[in-house]
Each structure stands twice: as structure tokens, then as C-alpha cells.
């Protein structure tokens, strides 16, 4: 839902002081926006739209990875008051294509998170020994799920997922959805980009459509 019309107080900071969750208002950047939406703790919003409509660009705007303008507020605190790395730890984007910087899978996880990672890997139907393997040789679907695990063990307040199950078979996709529901029950807010209306209906309470860089609520 769009908040911009229902709120009239002039200063964004005082307006959102008591609001919980993520509030995005008038966010715009290159080829995107202005876009407004809200994401309550434990809530899930699906974002749909044709390829090239700006879904990925919007998510990059929210995590402050591309320069733009507008207000983004988390639990009543404006994005500018967070240091950029701290903001991205709280509002975490898992892109459609994952990046890897070390040669082994385990090196991408903090040591204290390995046990939790291992549990999540099993829940997502990944091979038991996957954490000891090398990145080279992993399939696209394995990388995609590992990137999700990597984000989940960081325990962000808000998760932005760009097509999290696009490369997976039906069973694996359902396993991933199960994990996402668990996380959601724990209070994490979630925004999921998907091309699958059935998946959107399964996971999300609200569905937004994005066309030509602007948002319509379906």
C-alpha cells in the first residue's frame, strides 16, 4: 500500500518516529521511481512486473547501492542516520545472481555462523558437505540457495529477495519457501521479486506491480 497519500505531516522524521518496519517514500533514481511502499515486521510483499521494469534497480535503491533521492526509514530511523554498511546489514538484498569472493563455500560465512548455515543448507535440500566444497563446480541453483543462506545467517531486519527460486526445481523451491516462512515468523520483513503469481500468492499478503519504474498495487 502507498503511504504517501495517507500521511500529511511535513517532516518525514517526526512522521515515522513510531512506525515499525521499513517505509519507503518517493524513492527515485536512474530509470526508477518515484516509488513509495511500506513493509511491516513479519510481513511479506511480492513485487511483480515484466523484465526490465526496474525491479532490481528498485531493490538496489532501497539498500543504498545506487545513488538516488527520497526517504527510507527503518523502525522510525532515517536511512541517512545509519552508516552505509550497518544499513545494508539490517536491510539486506540477495540479488538474482550471487557473487563469491573466496574459493571455498565456508570462507563466505563467519565462523560462528557455520552451524546455523549448515542447518539451513539441509533445510534447503543442499548436499550435507556443501560448506566444504569449492565455489567452482557448484550449480546455479546451489549458488542461489547458498547466497540466501549467507544472508539469512546475518539475521537482517528486512530481506529483499530478487527471484530467490528462479533456478530451482519445484521441490527445492518449496523447501526454500519453507525456510522463508520460518524467517518471516521470526519477525523479519520480506520483499520478494517473483515472476510466479502462485508463489506470490503463497508467500505475500500484498502484491505490487512495477511498470516503467513506478509501482501499482495489484
Amino acid at each position: 500500500m502507498s503511504l504517501s497519500s495517507s500521511l500529511s505531516s511535513p517532516s518525514p522524521r517526526s512522521r515515522y518516529e513510531r512506525a515499525q518496519g521499513l517505509i519507503v517514500e518517493e524513492l527515485s533514481g536512474a530509470r526508477i521511481g518515484p516509488v513509495s511502499f511500506a513493509l511491516a515486521p513479519g510481513g511479506c510483499v511480492a513485487l511483480m512486473g515484466p523484465s526490465g521494469a526496474g525491479k532490481t534497480l528498485l531493490l538496489r535503491q532501497v539498500v543504498d547501492l545506487d545513488p538516488g533521492s527520497g526517504h527510507v526509514v527503518l523502525d522510525g530511523k532515517a536511512r541517512e542516520t545509519y552508516a552505509a554498511p550497518e544499513w545494508r546489514r539490517r536491510v539486506m538484498l540477495v540479488p538474482a545472481v550471487s557473487g563469491w569472493w573466496a574459493s571455498t563455500v565456508a570462507a563466505h560465512f563467519p565462523d560462528e555462523a557455520l552451524a546455523e548455515a549448515s542447518r539451513l543448507c539441509v533445510a534447503m535440500r543442499l548436499p550435507e558437505d556443501i560448506l566444504e566444497r569449492n565455489i567452482v563446480g557448484l550449480s546455479t541453483g546451489e549458488r542461489q540457495r547458498l547466497a540466501l543462506v549467507r544472508a539469512l545467517v546475518a539475521k537482517p531486519d528486512v530481506l529483499l529477495l530478487d527471484e530467490p527460486t528462479s533456478g530451482l526445481d519445484a521441490d527445492a523451491a518449496l523447501a526454500v519457501e519453507g525456510c522463508l516462512k520460518d524467517v518471516q515468523r521470526g519477525g523479519t520483513a520480506m520483499l520478494i521479486v517473483t515472476h510466479d503469481p502462485v508463489q506470490a500468492a503463497r508467500l505475500a499478503s500484498t502484491i505490487h506491480r512495477i511498470e516503467d519504474g513506478t509501482l501499482r498495487t495489484a
Binding site: 543504498d64 552505509a84 554498511p85 546489514r89 550471487s98 557473487g99 569472493w101 544472508a151 546475518a154
Partner: protein
């Protein structure tokens, strides 16, 4: 020092070998004879011109003239270093190159003055200009490899860097591997140069001084001091250039700003 005088006739004898090369190039259809001829002529003209310029500068022996020449050499070196990478920074490309070339060169040049000249000798152009020249040549190398290392790899490394940024790592951590790789690459030539010195190559300054009649041990000492300064200066230049370029590729929100890159 009694240098052996050379004349135009000696140059002609040395040129015979190059002419032989050119003839072989024609016979073997290497198509190198034109480039070879042009490069040889350029070299002769440039060095003769340099000889005349230096003769004038040494004769005048004025601080402003020496400083002007040093400035011109520094700008030329910065321009060369900036021209190497196939990817460029939209803004601040030349400034990054100039800073990384000038600061280490001038710093090491001061060290050279202290090490190699007796106290109170001032800034004789016969000393300052060749030393600045050799320092700039080496530092230029380190800067161009350092800048190239970042600018030509960062696009390819972007997914890995952004993956780390998205997990809340700082830009510094996220680009740490790229930074270390670029600095290491830029420092390899100077390590090679020092390891090979005296076994595989006889370094230029020592060669020149021995040919000009100096005692080999004294020439070696001179070379050692210069080589240490070159290594120190190049190392500083490698680190400085890599960090300056990386600094230009981020902003106050620790983003990776690939939009600040442009082709050649």
C-alpha cells in the same frame, strides 16, 4: 673522471647492426623496418635534443630553470602513466596519476640529495635532473601498473565486491583483495629488478659510471643507494595510485561507483 669521447662516426658504426635488422625485416617480411627506422631516428633526435637542453641548463645553473625542467618531466611522466589503463576515471584520472607520480618521486629525490651529495652542495642540476629522471621512470611504471590493475579488474570483480557490500561489509574490506592484488602486481617489477641486479643485468647507472671510468665498487655503492630509493619510491607509488583510484570509485555511502569509469 675521464670519459671516453665518442663521435658521429662511432654512432654510424653502431647503426650498422640496426640497418642489418631492417634488411632482415624486409627479407623476412616482418614489416618492422619502418617502425624500427622511425624509432631509431626518434631516439637519436630526442637524445641529442636532451644533450643540448641539459648542456644549457647546466651552464645556466639556476634553481628556477632546474625546477621548471623537473616540473615538465613530472607532468610528462604523469601523462604517460595515466595513458596506460584502457579504462579511465571520468573525473580526476590525471590528478590521481599526477599525485601518485609526483609525491613519491619528490620524496625519494630529497632522500637522494641527502644520501648522495655532500652537505651544503645545494641543488646542482647535473645531479638533480638525472636522479629525478630515473626516479620518475620507475615510479611511472609502478603507477601505470597500479592504476591499470584496479581500473581493468574492477568491472570483472564487481559482482564479488557488491556481494560483500550487500552483506554489510565496508568498501575497504570488500575491495581488499583487489587492492592487494593490484599493489602486488605493481611492485613485482622492482623486486625483479633488485633480484636480477648484478647477476643478470648490470644496472644502467653503474654501467654508465663504469664506462665513464669510475671505480666499479664506488659505482656499485652509488647504484645500491639509488636502487633502494627507486624501490622505496615505486612501492609508495604503487600503494598510493591503487588507493587513490579506489577512493574515486566509491562515495560517502560506500557504494561501488562503476558509473565513474569510461572506456579509454
Amino acid at each position: 673522471m675521464n670519459a671516453l669521447p665518442l663521435h658521429a662516426g662511432d654512432i654510424a658504426i653502431a647503426a650498422v647492426v640496426v640497418v642489418l635488422d631492417a634488411m632482415l625485416s624486409i627479407m623476412m617480411r616482418l614489416q618492422m623496418h619502418r617502425a624500427l627506422a622511425i624509432a631509431s631516428l626518434r631516439m637519436v633526435v630526442q637524445l641529442v635534443a636532451l644533450g643540448f637542453i641539459l648542456r644549457t641548463v647546466f651552464a645556466v645553473d639556476a634553481a628556477w630553470l632546474t625546477a621548471t625542467l623537473v616540473l615538465a618531466m613530472t607532468l610528462a611522466a604523469a601523462r604517460e602513466a595515466a595513458a596506460r589503463p584502457r579504462q579511465r576515471l571520468h573525473r580526476g584520472h590525471f590528478v590521481a596519476s599526477l599525485t601518485s607520480v609526483a609525491a613519491p618521486s619528490l620524496l625519494t629525490c630529497l632522500f637522494a640529495l641527502v644520501c648522495l651529495l655532500p652537505a651544503g652542495a645545494g641543488w646542482p642540476p647535473q645531479f638533480v635532473i638525472p636522479v629525478v629522471g630515473i626516479l620518475l621512470g620507475n615510479v611511472l611504471n609502478a603507477v601505470s601498473i597500479g592504476m591499470t590493475g584496479v581500473l581493468e579488474s574492477v568491472t570483472q570483480d564487481a559482482p564479488a565486491i557488491e556481494a560483500r557490500l550487500l552483506l554489510g561489509h565496508t568498501f575497504r574490506t570488500a575491495t581488499g583483495e583487489l587492492q592487494r592484488r593490484a599493489v602486488r602486481r605493481a611492485m613485482v617489477p622492482l623486486v625483479n629488478q633488485m633480484s636480477a641486479a648484478g647477476i643478470i643485468t648490470m644496472p644502467g647507472i653503474m654501467t654508465g659510471q663504469v664506462l665513464a671510468g669510475m671505480d666499479p665498487l664506488q659505482a656499485a655503492t652509488y647504484q645500491i643507494v639509488l636502487m633502494l630509493l627507486l624501490a622505496g619510491g615505486s612501492g609508495l607509488a604503487a600503494i598510493l595510485s591503487v588507493r587513490l583510484v579506489l577512493g574515486r570509485l566509491t562515495d560517502e555511502r560506500q557504494r561501488l561507483r562503476l558509473d565513474r569509469l569510461s572506456d579509454g
